[in-house]
C-alpha cells in the first residue's frame, strides 16, 4: 500500500475579493468575486446579501465564462455593407459619438419624437427614461411591455403592488402556496429559497401550470390547466368561496373598496362609478343606522350586499354586491368551467375548500402590536396564510390583465394581502392607486423636455396619449385606446410600427440590451425583413438603427452603429428604488455594481456613453446653464443626480454624514459606503411595520419619510376598479375623450371594473379545429434568454431544445420520442424534434425559450447544435393579429395593457417527412462576426491557477 497523498487544504480562494451584484440575470443577487493574479477565480453568493443570502444559481456560477466569452464586442462598429450582411468597419468612439450626436441634435431640433429609444433587459430605466424625457421624445419604452406589464398593471391598479418584482409570498408563514404560471421568474433565487423554506415547514405547494417541470416537480399538487383559462379557474374558486361564505368581510371593509356604493344608472355617464359626497369621498351604507356616509367613516358598519337609493334618487349597490351577484352565477360554477380549464370540478372544489380551511380555520397570529391608519391599536397581527405568486403563464396571454385582477380579487376576498402568511408587498410598494403621475408626451417644457416621464399611470381617458381622432401619439400605441394602461410601453411593436409609418416616420431607433431581431421579436423573420426593407428611393424604411450590446447577438448585423458595452464585472450599475429595486417585504433595498475587472477591449459602459451623449446634446438636467456636462460618468450621476430634492438613484447612505436613508443630501462618499457594505443597502423595517403596510400607520409614515410615497394616507385596495369603468363609459359614448369607433365594443368588454374572463384573442380569430394545440415556452433555469449560449459552461447544459408533447397526444399523431416534427401556426411552420412527457396538459406543447440560435451568432460554430437542432418558437408568432373585417390588424397583445400575447399561440403538429428531418427550420442563413473569431479548441480554465500553487 502506498501512502495516502497529502493535500494542501488551506489554499486561499484568491488574492483579492470584491463584492458586487450579479447580472447573469435580472435577479440582482449579491456576489463575492474572488480574483487570483488578476484573473477570476471564483464567484460565490454573498451570504450577507438580502436577495440571495449566499446562494447562487447556475447562471451566476457561470459568470466567468460570460466575461471571457469570445462573442464579446470589442470596438464601436459602423455598418459598411447592406443591412443584415454584417459588414462593418471598426471605428473610434469619438467617431461613433459624433455621428450619433449630429443625428440626434438634428432630430431634437426638428421633431424629437422621431427618435425612438427602447431598452430591454437593462436595469437603468430610470436613467434611460429620464434621458428620453429630457430629449423630448415620448417614444421610449422599457422591456416590461413584452414581459409582464399586464400583471404589473393589474396589481398596481388593484392592490397598489404586484406579483412580478413588487411582491413576494410570506415564505415563513404561508401554509398553502399557489404558484400560477411560473417557471423561473425574476426572483430566481428568492423563489427557490422560499420553496425550500415552505418544504422545510411542510406547507402545501400547488403548481397551476400546463407543464410540470422545475418548481412544478416539487409541488405537492399539480394542476395541469389548459393555457389561457386561469381566469375561469380562479373565478370558479371565487364562486365556491362565495357559496361557502368563506370571505374575509372584515378585511374587505377595512382595506378595500368592497363596501363603496356603485351607481346603478345604466346609460348615464355615472353608471358604474362610485357614489361620492360633495368632497368627492366615496360613500357606503351603514347597516347600523341605515345612513349613507363616507366609506371611510370610523365605526361604521358598512353593508356589503343589498341596494340603496341615493339622496339624488339614483340606485346604488355596494361593489361587493355586484361582485357576489356576478360570480355566484352558475356560469362560474366549477362544473361549468371544468372542461374548458381542463381541471376536474372536484379538484376546483377541493382546492377552494383547502383555501378556506387554511385562511379561516388555520390563521397565523403574530404577537406583534401595531397601529392602523385609523388610529386603532391591534395587539396581534393576524393573517391568512394563503400565498399566491403568478407570472408569465398569466401575463403572456391577451386576457392576462383581467386574469391577474381575478387573482388579486381572490386574495382580497380571502383577506390575504400583506398579512402574515399571505402574499406581501416588497418595498417600495404599496403605492397609491394609480401608482404615479400620468405618462408624459403631450406637454413640453421650454427647454424641450417632456413635462413628465414618458411612462406613467393613466387615471382615466383624459390621460391617454392620443390625438384628436383618438389615434395613438406614441409609435408603439401604448397609452392609446389600443392599450390604455400600457404602462411600460410596447417594445414588441417598435420595429413593426417604425416600419409601418402610418402615422409619422421615425428617423432613429436606438435599442439597448435587447435582441430585437431574434428572441424578443414576436416574429424574427418579420423583424429581419422590416429592418432591411427599403423605400422606393433605396433608403432604408427605418432610416437609422443604433444598437448598444455587449455581445455578437443576432441583432448586431442589422445595426448601423453598434456601441459595444462592457460586461457586468467591468462597470458601475445602479439598481435603484426609482427603477426596479431589490427591496423585499422586510424593507427597501438597493444596490450597485462595481467594476471588478478592467476591460481588455475598447468598450465603454453604455450608461457612461448615454450621459456623454446627453452632455453633447446639451440636454437639460444633464448640462448646466452654460451647457457644460453635469456628470462625468454614470458613477458620478448615481451619487449626484437628484430627481426630487433629497431623492437620487441611491437611497442608502445619503446626507453629509451618510446616515440618512431614502431621502437626504448628496453624499460624496456614498459609493464608498456602498462598497464597504457589500455594494448594497437595505433598511430592515421594525416588526410592527412588516405587515398590513397599506394601512399600517408606522409603515406609511416611515415610507413617506424615506420618500417611497408622497403621502402617508391609507392605501385602499381596488376590489372594484373604478378607473377601468371610466374607460368603459367612454367606450359607451360618455365623456369628452372618445375612442375610435372600431375599438368601442372591445373596450367596453375588456375594461370591466370587475374581473372577467374572455378567450385569448388569437384563439377567437383562428380556426381551432385547424390549430388545436396551445404552444408555450418556458424559461430554462440555467439559461438567460439568448445570452446563455455563448457561455461555455451553460451551453453544455442546454445546447438544443425539443418540442415537448403529451405522450398520449403525440401517440395519437403517430409521433414518437425524438421524432422530427413540423409545427404549423397561422403564421408559418417550423421543424424540430419532439420529446414526449406525462406531466403536460394534453392540449399543449411547449419548448424552452430562446435556446435556438441563428447559425454563426454568438460566434458559435456555424453547425452548432443551437442552430442545427435548436429552434425558436417565435417564428410561429406574430406581433399582429389576423385582420378583422375592416382589414385592420391589431397588435397581438392584451387590449388593456398592450402586453405581448406570446402564449396565445395555437398550432398543429405532424410528423416530418424524411426530407424535412435532420435540421431545424427555419434556418435563416449564417451570420459572421464583425471581428476575427478565436474560439479555443479546448478550455482548461483554472489550470494556471493550479500551476501557480
Amino acid at each position: 500500500m502506498s501512502k495516502q497523498e497529502t493535500i494542501e487544504y488551506s489554499v486561499p480562494v484568491g488574492d483579492s475579493v470584491a463584492q458586487t451584484t450579479c447580472y447573469m440575470c435580472a435577479c440582482r443577487c449579491g456576489i463575492k468575486v474572488h480574483l487570483k493574479d488578476g484573473k477570476l477565480r471564483y464567484i460565490e453568493g454573498n451570504r450577507a446579501h438580502p436577495v440571495n443570502r449566499g446562494v447562487l444559481c447556475a447562471k451566476g456560477s457561470a459568470g466567468i465564462m460570460n466575461v471571457l466569452s469570445p462573442a464579446r464586442l470589442r470596438k464601436p462598429l459602423k455598418r459598411v455593407g447592406e443591412r443584415g450582411a454584417g459588414e462593418f468597419e471598426e471605428i473610434e468612439w469619438e467617431e461613433a459619438l459624433s455621428i450619433i450626436t449630429a443625428r440626434l441634435a438634428k432630430i431634437r431640433a426638428n421633431d424629437p419624437k422621431q427618435f425612438a429609444f427602447f431598452t430591454g433587459r437593462d436595469q437603468s430605466q430610470s436613467l434611460t427614461g429620464y434621458f428620453a424625457q429630457m430629449f423630448g421624445t415620448l417614444n421610449f419604452a422599457a422591456h416590461g411591455g413584452f414581459c409582464t406589464v399586464n400583471m404589473a398593471a393589474a396589481g398596481l391598479y388593484s392592490v397598489g403592488g404586484a406579483f412580478w418584482e413588487f411582491g413576494e409570498p410570506d415564505w415563513e408563514h404561508a401554509k398553502i402556496f399557489l404558484l400560477i404560471g411560473v417557471a423561473e421568474d425574476h426572483d430566481s433565487n428568492p423563489i427557490k429559497l422560499g420553496l425550500g423554506r415552505l418544504k422545510e415547514r411542510g406547507a402545501k405547494i400547488v403548481a397551476i401550470n400546463p407543464v410540470r417541470t422545475g418548481y412544478g416537480a416539487i409541488a405537492d399538487e399539480f394542476v395541469a390547466i389548459t393555457p389561457g383559462t386561469d381566469g375561469l379557474f380562479v373565478l370558479a374558486l371565487v364562486h365556491c368561496l362565495l357559496e361557502e361564505g368563506a370571505i374575509d368581510t372584515e378585511f374587505l371593509i377595512r382595506h378595500t373598496n368592497a363596501h363603496y356604493l356603485v351607481i346603478d344608472a345604466p346609460g348615464t355617464a355615472e353608471d358604474g362609478l362610485f357614489a361620492r359626497d360633495e368632497s368627492g369621498a366615496p360613500l357606503c351604507l351603514d347597516r347600523a343606522d341605515h345612513q349613507i356616509k363616507p366609506a371611510s367613516t370610523l365605526g361604521a358598519d358598512p353593508a356589503l350586499l343589498g341596494s340603496v337609493t341615493l339622496p339624488d334618487g339614483r340606485a346604488a349597490r355596494p361593489a361587493f354586491a355586484l361582485l357576489a351577484a356576478r360570480y355566484s352565477d352558475a356560469a362560474y360554477a366549477p362544473e361549468a368551467v371544468a372542461a374548458r380549464c381542463g381541471v376536474p370540478a372536484a379538484t376546483i372544489r377541493r382546492l377552494a375548500a383547502e383555501l378556506a380551511e387554511i385562511a379561516f380555520n388555520q390563521p397565523v397570529t403574530l404577537n406583534v402590536p401595531w397601529m392602523d391608519t385609523s388610529g386603532r391599536r391591534h395587539e396581534t397581527m393576524q393573517g391568512r396564510p394563503v400565498a399566491i405568486h403568478a407570472m408569465r403563464g398569466i401575463s403572456a396571454h391577451s386576457n392576462g390583465f383581467q386574469t391577474c385582477r381575478a387573482i388579486h380579487m381572490l386574495q382580497m376576498l380571502l383577506g390575504a394581502v400583506d398579512t402574515p402568511g399571505s402574499w406581501r408587498y416588497k418595498s417600495p410598494y404599496p403605492k397609491p392607486i394609480p401608482a404615479g403621475p400620468a405618462p408624459g408626451g403631450k406637454a413640453f417644457l421650454e427647454n424641450g423636455a417632456l413635462a413628465g416621464l414618458p411612462l406613467g399611470f393613466p387615471a382615466g381617458p383624459q390621460d391617454l396619449l392620443v390625438d384628436d381622432n383618438g389615434e395613438a401619439l406614441r409609435l408603439d400605441r401604448a397609452f392609446s385606446w389600443e392599450a390604455p394602461l400600457g404602462v411600460h410601453g410596447m417594445m414588441h411593436m417598435s420595429i413593426a410600427e417604425a416600419h409601418k409609418q402610418d402615422r409619422y416616420p421615425i428617423d432613429t431607433l436606438m435599442v439597448y440590451m435587447a435582441n430585437v431581431a431574434w428572441n424578443s421579436a414576436m416574429n424574427p423573420g418579420e423583424a429581419m425583413r422590416m429592418l432591411t426593407d427599403k423605400n422606393a428611393d433605396g433608403s432604408y424604411r427605418i432610416p437609422f438603427f443604433i444598437l448598444a450590446d455587449a455581445f455578437f447577438s443576432e441583432t448586431v448585423p442589422y445595426a448601423d452603429i453598434v456601441l459595444p458595452d462592457t460586461t457586468y464585472l467591468e462597470r458601475y450599475d445602479c439598481i435603484s428604488l426609482l427603477d426596479r429595486p431589490i427591496g423585499s417585504a422586510h424593507g427597501p433595498a438597493d444596490a450597485i455594481r462595481i467594476p471588478v475587472l478592467k476591460p481588455d477591449r475598447d468598450v465603454r459602459p453604455f450608461q457612461d456613453v448615454l450621459i456623454d451623449i446627453a452632455g453633447r446634446l446639451k440636454l437639460p438636467n444633464f448640462t448646466d446653464e452654460d451647457g457644460a456636462p453635469l456628470y462625468a460618468s454614470y458613477a458620478d450621476y448615481m451619487v449626484r443626480h437628484q430627481r426630487k430634492p433629497g431623492i437620487g438613484p441611491l437611497a442608502g447612505f445619503r446626507g453629509a454624514d451618510g446616515q440618512a436613508i431614502g431621502k437626504g443630501e448628496v453624499n460624496g462618499d456614498q459609493l464608498k459606503r456602498y462598497i464597504e457594505n457589500g455594494s448594497f443597502w437595505r433598511h430592515h423595517l421594525p416588526d410592527e411595520q412588516l405587515y398590513f403596510k397599506h394601512s399600517n400607520q408606522a409603515y406609511l409614515s416611515t415610507a413617506k419619510a424615506m420618500g417611497l410615497i408622497d403621502k402617508d394616507e391609507p392605501i385602499t385596495l381596488h376590489l372594484y376598479c373604478e378607473i377601468l369603468q371610466t374607460f368603459r363609459l367612454a367606450a359607451q359614448g360618455h365623456g369628452a375623450h372618445q375612442p375610435p369607433e372600431r375599438l368601442r365594443a372591445r373596450l367596453e368588454a375588456v375594461m370591466d371594473p370587475l374581473p372577467i374572463w374572455y378567450e385569448p384573442i388569437e384563439a377567437t380569430m383562428v380556426n381551432r379545429q385547424e390549430y388545436p394545440l396551445h404552444a408555450l415556452t418556458q424559461r430554462p433555469m440555467a439559461m438567460y434568454h439568448s445570452w446563455g449560449s455563448q457561455n461555455a459552461w451553460l451551453r453544455q447544459i442546454m445546447s438544443e431544445n425539443r418540442l415537448y408533447m403529451n405522450r398520449e397526444t403525440a401517440g395519437a399523431l403517430g409521433i414518437a420520442d425524438e421524432d422530427w416534427v413540423v409545427v404549423e401556426s397561422r403564421n408559418g411552420a417550423l421543424t424540430c424534434q419532439a420529446r414526449l412527457m406525462e406531466g403536460l396538459n394534453p392540449n399543449s406543447v411547449w419548448t424552452w425559450n430562446a435556446i435556438g440560435k441563428r447559425s454563426g451568432a454568438w460566434t458559435l460554430d456555424q453547425k452548432a447544435p443551437e442552430s442545427e437542432r435548436g429552434f425558436l418558437l417565435n417564428h410561429l408568432i406574430s406581433e399582429y393579429l389576423p385582420a378583422d373585417e375592416s382589414g385592420h390588424r391589431a397588435s397581438n397583445s392584451d387590449p388593456v395593457t398592450g402586453q405581448a400575447a406570446w402564449f396565445d399561440l395555437t398550432v398543429r403538429v405532424r410528423k416530418a417527412s424524411a426530407a424535412e428531418a435532420g435540421q431545424t427550420a427555419p434556418h435563416p442563413g449564417t451570420v459572421h462576426a464583425p471581428f476575427a473569431v478565436h474560439n479555443p479548441e479546448n478550455l482548461r480554465y483554472g489550470a494556471k491557477m493550479e500551476a501557480a500553487e
Partner: protein
C-alpha cells in the same frame, strides 16, 4: 461498452501469445515437439511477441503511459495490477525456457521452467479475464462464464498458433490440428453458452432502483443533464442493435471457430496443411477480434441507466 481497438488488441493478442506459450510448455512436457534446437525458441519468441504487442497496445490506451510502471503496485486488490505483474513475471521464465531449450534441449529443468512460464501466461490470461469478470456494474462480464471463456479462447487461439508453427516447420499440423479442432469446438460451445447466459440474464438494476424511486412506478428519463455526449456515454454508452449483434455472433462462430476447426481437421488429415492452417489462423484472428468486439459492444453498464439507455 465502447470496443476500443487497443483493448481488443490486448485481449486477443495476449490470448494467442500466452495460449501458445502454454501449449509449448505442455508439448515440451509430453515430448511432442520437433527435435529442433530452434523450434522452441522461435515459438517462445512468437508467443512473447504476441503477448508483448498486446501489452504495448494496451499502453496506448492509457492517458499517462509514461506512468505505466505504477500499475504493478496494487496486485493485492487490483486484477489489472495482477495482470501486469503476472505478464511481466512470465517473461523471464519464458525466455529462460527458450534459452534452456536451446542450450539443453528438453531436459527436466527446461520443462519445469517451461511449465512455470506457461502457467504464468495462463495466469495472466486469467487476470485479464478477471479484470472484466470482477466489474459488478457490467452484468455481461461479471459472471462465471467470463474467465473460462477467456481461458478457452486463449487455449484455442494458442493451439491455432501452435498448429501454424508446426505446419510451417514440419509441413504437418498433426496433433495440433486435432487440438485446434477440439479447443475450437469447446470454445465455440463456451461462447454459445455465454451468449445464452447473457441473453437470459436479468438486468442488474432498473432506473427506478438507480434513482431510489422504486415506490413511484416506472421511471423514464425526461431530460439528460447535457444534450451532447459525454465521457460516461462515450465510454460506456456504446450499444449495438440486437439484429446486428446476432449477425456478428453468427459470423464469429463461423470465422473464429467452425471454419478454422474444419480447416485444421483437413490440415490434420494432410491436405495442404501449411496453407490451410495459415488460412485458419487468419480466420481465427479475424473471428476472435469480432468476438472480442462483441464482448464489449454487447456489454451494458448500469451507469447508462441514468441516461435511459
Amino acid at each position: 461498452m465502447k470496443p476500443a481497438a487497443s483493448v481488443l488488441l490486448l485481449t486477443t493478442l495476449t490470448g494467442f501469445g500466452y495460449g501458445l506459450l502454454a501449449w509449448l510448455a505442455l508439448f515440451a512436457l509430453l515430448g511432442l515437439l520437433p527435435a529442433s534446437r530452434w523450434f522452441m525458441p522461435v515459438g517462445v519468441v512468437v508467443a512473447l511477441g504476441f503477448a508483448a504487442s498486446g501489452l504495448i497496445a494496451s499502453m496506448l490506451h492509457l492517458g499517462r503511459p509514461e506512468r505505466a510502471w505504477r500499475a504493478f503496485s496494487q496486485w493485492r486488490s487490483s486484477w489489472l495490477s495482477r495482470e501486469g505483474v503476472a505478464s511481466l513475471a512470465s517473461f523471464p521464465p519464458a525466455l529462460g525456457f527458450a534459452a534452456l531449450w536451446w542450450g539443453m534441449g528438453p531436459a527436466p529443468v527446461t520443462v519445469i521452467v517451461g511449465l512455470v512460464a506457461g502457467a504464468l501466461g495462463l495466469v495472466t490470461v486469467y487476470c485479464t479475464a478477471m479484470i472484466y469478470a470482477s466489474l459488478k456494474p457490467i452484468r455481461q462480464w461479471n459472471n462465471k462464464h467470463t474467465a473460462p471463456n477467456y481461458m478457452l479462447l486463449a487455449l484455442f487461439s494458442g493451439a491455432m498458433l501452435m498448429a501454424l508453427l508446426l505446419a510451417c516447420w514440419t509441413g504437418q499440423a498433426g496433433l495440433a490440428g486435432l487440438l485446434v479442432l477440439l479447443a475450437g469446438l469447446l470454445a465455440a460451445a463456451a461462447k454459445l453458452a455465454y451468449w445464452r447466459f447473457i441473453d437470459t440474464q436479468k438486468p442488474l438494476a432498473t432506473l427506478a432502483s438507480a434513482t431510489g424511486l422504486t415506490r413511484y412506478g416506472e421511471v423514464r428519463p425526461l431530460d439528460a443533464p447535457h444534450f451532447t455526449e459525454n465521457y460516461v456515454l462515450r465510454e460506456m454508452g456504446y450499444q449495438i442493435a440486437r439484429k446486428h449483434a446476432a449477425r456478428l455472433r453468427r459470423i464469429t462462430i463461423a470465422t473464429a471457430f467452425l471454419l478454422p476447426s474444419l480447416l485444421a481437421l483437413l490440415a490434420g488429415l494432410g491436405l495442404v496443411p501449411a496453407l490451410l492452417i495459415i488460412l485458419a489462423t487468419l480466420l481465427t484472428a479475424m473471428g476472435l477480434f469480432i468476438e472480442r468486439w462483441l464482448f464489449f459492444a454487447e456489454a451494458t453498464h448500469v451507469a447508462t441507466l441514468y441516461y435511459g439507455r
